[in-house]
Amino acid sequence: MLNEWVEVSLPVTTEQEDEVAALFVWAGAMGVEVRDTTTLFAEDRGTTRVVAYIEQGTEKAFLERLNPVLAASLDQAEEELSARFRMVPITRQEWNEFWKKAFDVQRIGHFVIRPSWKEVVPEPGDTVFVIDPGMAFGTGLHATTRLVMEAIEQLHASGFRPTRILDMGAGTGILSMAAASLFPEARIWAVDNDPDAVETAAEVIANNGLADRIQVDLSWSETPVDLVLANIQRDVLLELNPLFQRNLEPGGRMVFSGILNDQIDEIREKTNLPVVRGWHEGEWELVVFEKPATGGQS
């Protein structure tokens, strides 16, 4: 019989995360995961959490082995440390559901995202992308990504035809690829300030045969665009907003995702552009702004 699992986790600072993850593996975890605001199981802002998956019944042994070494490594008292652990049992069913989803083919509207080891028979009108999970943010599993994919489809369906697109915070480059397939005339910049993401995006985009359409980079030299896609957390969106608006052509649109319900009012207010579309899924909001075609915004 297959075992049930327990999720043992510890909140850490970003400097500690590698060390803690390594010790979790050493102590016998079957799998380790680092979570923050951008991961599938998202943490609150400012929190990073290292999670170990272990078989139910082995918790005690796991912690006994782990604790002294971890306490020494982090320079903390053992009792203090054990108080900060969180243990959540997960049923096999939940576990299976999750991993099945994570490693399965994703469908978002007419976009199909498959891992490299899985074949799909596309339906007429489908566009298939190959993206392996775990490379960078943007495998189509997260609601914030899905919302943007749908928004891109809707913009296309409503006749909007951008020619220069900025995908800021590109992750795997998934949004750029979606835009490239729907807007064959458009030039696209996929930008991410995380070098790992840039590397991943370049690889994924090349694998999908879109390297000549999408320019991937760590930074962006400003140039006029008529569509901005940005799925990043609130602070970054607000910080980059002036940059976006400066380069957005009149009649151009700006898609913001990665916004939590309680942040949407603030984002709408501070962005101060007309909203033409809004979407929400669970705690996540997406909003589409439009720069008025004539005249400025007061």
């Binding site: 509207g109 809707q154 369906a157 409503s158 909203v275 033409v276 579309r277 809004g278 979407w279 899924e281």
Partner: protein, 399 residues
Amino acid sequence: MSSHKKYEQQLELLKKVSGKLYNRDYLLTWEQDLDTITATVELARLLSELHREGKDLRVFRSGLGVSIFRDNSTRTRFSYASATNMLGLQGMDLDETKSQIAHGETVRETAAMISFLTVAIGIRDDMYIHEGHSYMTEVGRALDDAYENKVLAQRPAVINLQCDKDHPTQSMADLSHLVGMFGGLDKLRGKRIAMTWAYSPSYGKPLSVAQGIIGLMTRFGADVVLAHPEGYNVMPEVLELSGRQAQASGGRFSQTHSMEEAFRDADVVYPKSWAPMAVMEERTRLLRAGENAALKDLEKSALAENARHKDWECNDKMMKLTKGGDALYMHCLPADISNVSCAQGEVSADVFEKYRLRTYHEASYKPFVIAAMILLTRFERVDHVIGHLLEKDKSRHVK
């Protein structure tokens, strides 16, 4: 108080919009400015009230109220017949299904031939997506042509009784109902109105009710939410204009794939099934091509897809999520009621029963909305016409 004084505000509003729609058609609510929309609702409510008081509302001594139904709809047929009869017109149905090709020259000729003494032409054409509205505008153009060339002595108005894009007589009846329930159009500001898809064991229901609702309710500062399972998209142009209207009115328009989310804190819920736009397009193509076997397959697969979303039912649990657990439930009727009209459907029997009479009231505005549309398109000074009716003080019953 004299009737004039009592209805001063309404008469003022009618004066303001007078002539705007004269000799034109009433096809899409979003083609009309806000004053015209308000005037239509106010006029419909006024007519309903006067009718209740027993007033004779015949403003025409003769003339035809022609209807063209390109599908079966008993209820709309009755609403239209009631409206034309109330205004003094003779109802007349044109059986369009028999004339196979209804385009180009045929439309031009037919439109003129049925219109020599016709005041209004009500058309219902929601079977073929991307065609209904075009057909109505084509009829309108043909009428313009015949009128301008003096073939017709008057320009009959085309009244949209439901097309592929909009269902204005429904959405305006719904709006009239909301005005009654909340006490005024201005009371809709900030109200959360959830137009959501709901499961139905039938397929091919038109999109135009949902489109009509979001295309109209986004004009009054409300927080309008459209919810449907993935794939059940409505026309992008209607989404686009709903977003713009919401922005312009200081309200909101958003979309989601969760019925629960749409219901949460809603003041009004409108759970109603429709077919995905892509299915309607395929269906239109197959119907046109007469591919009956393929149509059956399409129906089968569409029903199977529907069945994956049986949890989209408006039931007690869903209603509990709404504001105070007591949102206003609305439906254009007939609703698919679980365990009543089907095994499982759009709404549970207990929820429907609670709101049953209110949905009847909602529906009762329809003939008056149609009558209001006819008056606004057929008279240059509707304020004078109504003023005259109020003065006349004539009952429609023999005393």
